[in-house]
C-alpha cells in the first residue's frame, strides 16, 4: 500500500487496529532492551574498579580526575571538577543486601555481577557488546534498505520550523499526545531523539569503547585522535552512557503515559490500535 495514491482516502481511523512496527524493528528493540541493560549494569561494575575519569592520553591515581566517586570519613561522595556532593548510601558507600557497609562507587543492585568481580563484568560487557554492535549494524543497514529511516525518521521541511517544534514541545509538556492517524507517525521530537540516539550516541558509544582497547588503538590509531586519547574516550563512554540512560527513562515514561498496553503490544506483535480523538 505505501505509495498508493488512494491511501489518503483509506487513512486509518481511530480504534482501527493497524500494523505499526516491522519485524526487524521489533526484533532489534527487544534484543536491545536486554543487551543495553546488561551493558549498562556490567559497565557500572567495570567503572567500580577505578571510579575516576580523566581527560587526555593517560590518567591514573596521581593525575587529576575530573570526576570521582569515593569515600571520605566514611561518607560516600561524587566529585565533578571542584564541586563535591554527598551521595552517602547510594554512591561511594552504601549497604549491601546483608546490611554491611561497602566502599564501592555503584551499589550492588545496579551492577552485573552484584558482588565486585571485574573479570566477570568484563566478560559480560565485552561479549554482549558484540551482540549490540552486530544488532545495530544489521538493523541500520536493513532500515536503510527497506526505507524505514528515510520514510519514518526523516524530518520534513514543515516540521523543522521553530514554530512547529515549539508547538510540539508545548503539547508534550502538557502530556497532550497525538491522537488518531497522527499517532501513527513519529513527531519531530521523536524523530530528533531517535536520530540523535541511533546516528550520534550509539556510534559514539561503540567508537569510544573500541578506543579503550590497546589492540584496536594499534590497528586504528585514528581512534585516539578522534577522542584525544584513551582516557578521554573512557570519559566520553561514561558521559554518553549517562545520556542514553536519560533517553531510556524518557522513552519508558512516554510509553507509560500513552497507553502502555497498546504500545507494548505494538512492539511485540506489531499491531497498534489507533488512539481515539479527544472527546
Amino acid at each position: 500500500m505505501p505509495g498508493d495514491t488512494t491511501t489518503r482516502e483509506s487513512l486509518p481511523k481511530a480504534d482501527d487496529l493497524v500494523a505499526r512496527h516491522r519485524l526487524s524493528t521489533r526484533l532489534w528493540h527487544w534484543v536491545n532492551a536486554g543487551t543495553v541493560l546488561i551493558l549498562l549494569m556490567s559497565g557500572l561494575m567495570i567503572f567500580n574498579a577505578h571510579p575516576r575519569l580523566y581527560w587526555g592520553q593517560f590518567g591514573a591515581n596521581r593525575d587529576h580526575a575530573w570526576l570521582q566517586i569515593g569515600v571520605n570519613d566514611d561518607k560516600g561522595y561524587l566529585r565533578i571538577g571542584s564541586k563535591q556532593i554527598s551521595t552517602d548510601g547510594v554512591l561511594g558507600r552504601w549497604e549491601d543486601a546483608d546490611g554491611r557497609s561497602r566502599n564501592r562507587a555503584f551499589p550492588s543492585w545496579s551492577t552485573i555481577p552484584s558482588n565486585y568481580d571485574l573479570a566477570l563484568a568484563r566478560r559480560w560487557h565485552l561479549s554482549f557488546a558484540w551482540l549490540f554492535a552486530i544488532g545495530i549494524t544489521g538493523y541500520s543497514l536493513w532500515s536503510l534498505l527497506n526505507g524505514h529511516i528515510w520514510r519514518d525518521l526523516r524530518p520534513r521541511r514543515s516540521e523543522l520550523s521553530p514554530r512547529h517544534i515549539w508547538t510540539e514541545i508545548r503539547h508534550h509538556a502538557r502530556l497532550n499526545f497525538p491522537k488518531g492517524a497522527a499517532a501513527l507517525r513519529y513527531n519531530i521530537l521523536q524523530k530528533a531523539s531517535y536520530i540523535v540516539v541511533i546516528f550520534g550516541l550509539i556510534p559514539l558509544m561503540i567508537l569510544s569503547g573500541l578506543t579503550m582497547s590497546p589492540s584496536m588503538d594499534a590497528t586504528w590509531p585514528w581512534l585516539l585522535d578522534v577522542f584525544g586519547g584513551r582516557q578521554s574516550a573512557r570519559s566520553v563512554h561514561f558521559i554518553v552512557a549517562a545520556l542514553l540512560v536519560g533517553f531510556f527513562v524518557v522513552h519508558i515514561v512516554m510509553v507509560v503515559l500513552t497507553n502502555p498496553f497498546n504500545q507494548i503490544r505494538a512492539m511485540i506483535t506489531g499491531a497498534f490500535r489507533v488512539p481515539k480523538e479527544k472527546r
Partner: protein, 253 residues
Amino acid sequence: MSRLITRRRMLTGIGLAAPAVVIGCDRLGSSPSFRDIVLSSGEWLSSRVHRLIGSNALAREFDPDQMSPVFRTNGNTQPRSPVYRQHQVTRFVDWRLDVGGLVNTPRSYSLADLRGKASRTQITRHDCVEGWSAIGKWTGVPLRTLLHEVQLKPAARFIVFHCADDFRGTAYYESIDLIDAFHPQTILAYGMNDGVLSVDHGAPVRLRVERQLGYKQAKFIMGIEAVASIADIGRGRGGYWEDVGFYDWYAGI
C-alpha cells in the same frame, strides 16, 4: 483487554525487573557452561577479529612530553622469594634468564648479555584492566632476538614467562602467542624512563607486550619457555590472573 497492562502494572513490572535481572545474571555468571560458552564469546571474537585486521599493527609511540609525571606501580612490588632477594642484594649479577622448552638450543642469558644486544626504546601507554593508563619509556631487547637465537621448534605455539613473584604462594606467570612474541614492540625491558628498571616495576627484566593490558606485562622474569599448549601450566588458562580470576587470556581489549 487493555487492562492487561495498566500503568501501575507496568511500573511494578519495571520495579521487579531490575532485581530479577541482577539475580538472573548472577546465576548465569556462576554457571560454568554459560561462562565457557556465552561469556567467553567476546574474547574469542575479539582476538580473532584483531588478528584478522591488524596482527602486525604497531602500538602508538608517544613523545617525551606526553609521558605520565608519575608512573604508578601495580601488582607485586617486592617478590618474597629468597632466591630473588639474594639477586636483589647482589644487584642481579648472578641472575640468569633461562630460555628453553620447545627450542633447538636452550640458552641462559645474564643481564649483561641482554644489555649487550641491540636494544629498542619505546614510549608507550600502559593500560591497566581496571581502567587507568600511564605513559612510560621502556628500553630492552626485542623478544624475537632471543627467540631467533634459541630457534623455536615447529611445535611451539606459545611463549610462557615464569616470574619470581607470587600471590599467597601461587607463582605469577603469563603467556602470549607467537604473533605477539615476534612483534617488533614486544621487548624484555631492563630500563624504564631513562633509568634502570626498578624493583617495584619488575627488575631485572619485565615483559612489554604493548597491545595488551597490564596483567600481561609480566614482571621479575626468571625463565622463558616455549610450549605447544598452555593447558598443562598452572590451572591451564595461560596466566596467574586468568587462572584465579577468570580474566581473559587475550587482553587486547
